[in-house]
Amino acid sequence: MTTLLSVENLSKVYTLGGGLFKQSRDLVALNDINLTVEAGETLAIVGESGCGKTTLGRCIIKAQPVTEGKVFYHQEGGQKVELTSLDKRAIKPWRRDIRMIFQDPMSSLNPNMRVFDIVAEPLRVHKICKGRELEDRVVSTLAKVGIPADAIGRYPHAFSGGQRQRIGIARALVLDPKLVIADEAVSALDVSIQAQVLNLLDDLKEEFGLTYIFISHDLGVVNYIADRVVVMYLGHVVETSPTELLFERPRHPYTEMLLEALPIADPSRRKGRSKELTGEIPYLGNRPKGCPFHTRCKYAEDRCREQKPELRPINGTAQSAACHFAEKLNLKGAYEAAPQKVIA
């Protein structure tokens, strides 16, 4: 496998307030993130709301400037392009390769443009084709996501949420991208529609040879679609792991907590587990010293309160975790046996 994208020491700090009479405060949304995305995989980024997963996605695609660190895009020849240092004009060619699917299908489509124009817009901006060719390409891309050709003259409000999300997917795919960042792409949809859209994403991945960064808070969805999972907490990466391993044997107490909260449809398999996440996420502007998770961790010891654990590979597995006791703790997974691969 070849690396498609790598993120090195990425940090994002928001400066809050700071007026004439107010002291400004820093809010660290992302703290020293390192991760790589392999070509062809589906990498899921999970975490509770406010953990920085959306910010990470937006920083990677440069919808927001980063404070520190670098994002590299690896071209086919093996050359690396540093996306973070490019200005608006210089990054434009790479916008064809890295695309985004948005969370809210209601607000991500311009209500004043027809479906045809919405999907054609990227092709027009990049001056890829026009006239008949443009029309054909838009129609065939829409057909692939299941929007019939006779609907292309309509406005977005004439479509259901699931159909709108399909249009959003078509807009992302019409440029023939390499990497698609799906930011909570299914969380605004009904569960039945979620399954349809997830299956569609899976099919399209094979057809187009795509790589996904799938940002989600829903571990059920992640289990279904992801090859590898990055767990984030308070702007830190606390664990990365292949999906199956993560669900079998998590290495970070936070992951265990998330898995415990996962609903299980079969009552006989729910074995006396606490179902809710305990504790509050600390305010980002007031992060705890030491391990960021120690305020909610039931295994926390003195060392956790003093010393911040680094993300490190766990011997003998493909997992990494940022916990002092990653090897010692025997954390509970969500499943005893191999995870079931079917939802809905």
């Binding site: 990054i91 916008r95 004043n112 817009e121 054909d136 065939s140 057909a143 292309i152 003259g153 023939d176």
Partner: protein, 378 residues
């Protein structure tokens, strides 16, 4: 990556697709709003009158006649009685006779139904230039002998024809509304757009200026500015100066509307999507953001025109806007300022009726347009 394969069962035939332009859709929605459609015709009628004022006005608006001061409206009649007791079609106006009020010893004009002055449609006249560049020698209507009195809507203090003056005043009053709004719209969109799109210190500075301008009472400000205009300026110069003064305040309201829309649209996902498409700022603003609030702009603009017309009328009425000999509805109403004139010549208030009709029509028209331009509407 092949994009040419299509899922089975999906008809790909772009030629068959039915498309309707945004304008056609807007027109269809607009037609459902009956009051707005009627108002549209009224507005069109008035602007048409303004456009061909020279053709419609029976006489020169400044032609005076000492014989017919404050002559009452003659009205236009079409039927005359023939000698045999029958009727015949003959457009005409009646002549005047003078009566003396024995108490006040005041002379006044009374319509004399005996005197019939035939009126000709498309009457030949002295050559003139329509709208300043089309040579014509035909008027919409006129009397055969130019010495005969022809005051369909009455005459003013100097015996000038009110109808002719009203028609010429329509041109000035309506065009000042359009010109003022165009100017305000331009400044409002550019300044408000920059403030809203880029935000930051420029936004704060602009908004403080807007607040400052808006916090001043408008009438004294207009009065002050209008009083500062040099008296020796030509009619055209004053006209443009007044337009500028009116839009000096007009732009602030539009700038606020535009800025607010930009601010809220800037964070919309579809704008982010356009940025991620690699679209330029210009394209994002013109193709993605502005179309989302054309309805707002249209409504704000049409609703600002009556404001401009009223402002001009008010200023001219107070004697500080346009000055005679420029004829506008405001300067015409200036004639009707004192109670004595009103008592003896109430027809001098007709410009006021025009103001009311046009302003109501523009408001309804603006409402209809706003509803029609909104794709979320029914």
């Amino acid at each position: 990556m092949a994009l040419d394969t299509v899922a089975p069962g999906v008809d790909v035939a772009p030629a068959k697709l039915k498309r309707e332009s945004q304008l056609a859709l807007m027109w269809r929605r607009f037609k459902r709003h009956q009051l707005a459609v009627i108002s549209l015709w009224i507005v069109v009628f008035f602007y048409l009158v303004a456009a061909i004022a020279e053709f419609l006005a029976p006489t020169d608006p400044s032609a005076y006649s000492a014989r017919y001061t404050y002559a009452p409206p003659q009205g236009l009649h079409f039927i005359v009685a023939t000698e045999g007791g029958g009727w015949a079609f003959q457009p005409h106006v009646n002549g005047y006779k003078t009566e003396v009020d024995p108490k006040a010893m005041r002379r006044s004009f009374v319509i004399d139904p005996e005197v019939i002055i035939p009126v000709q449609f498309f009457a030949p006249s002295k050559p003139y230039l329509l709208a300043g560049f089309i040579p014509m020698s035909v008027k919409f209507m006129g009397v055969e002998d130019p010495r005969d009195p022809f005051y369909v809507l009455g005459a003013d203090r100097l015996g000038r024809d009110l109808l002719s003056r009203l028609i010429h005043g329509t041109r000035i009053s309506l065009s000042i509304g359009l010109a003022g709004v165009t100017l305000s719209l331009f400044f409002g969109i550019v300044i408000g757009g920059f403030a809203g799109y880029y935000g930051g210190w420029f936004d704060s500075a602009v908004m403080r200026v807007v607040e400052f301008i808006r916090s001043m009472p408008t009438i004294p400000l207009w009065l002050g500015l209008a009083a500062a205009l040099p008296k020796d300026w030509s009619a055209l110069q004053t006209y443009f100066a007044i337009t500028l003064i009116l839009s000096l305040i007009g732009w602030t309201e539009l700038a606020r509307v535009v800025r607010g829309r930009f601010l809220s649209l800037r964070t919309e996902d579809f704008v982010t999507a356009a940025q991620l498409d690699g679209a330029s700022d210009w394209r994002i603003v013109t193709r993605h953001m502005v179309p989302s609030f054309t309805s707002h702009i249209i409504a704000a603009a049409t609703l600002a025109i009556p404001g401009m017309i009223l402002a001009e009328t008010a200023l001219s009425f107070l004697g500080l806007g346009l000055q005679p000999p420029i004829v506008s509805w405001g300067t015409l109403l200036q004639e009707a300022q004192n109670i004595r004139t009103l008592a003896t010549a109430p027809w001098l208030l007709t410009p006021g009726v025009c103001v009311v009709i046009v302003i109501l029509a523009l408001n309804f028209f603006g409402d209809g347009l706003r509803d029609a331009a909104d794709p979320h509407g029914r």
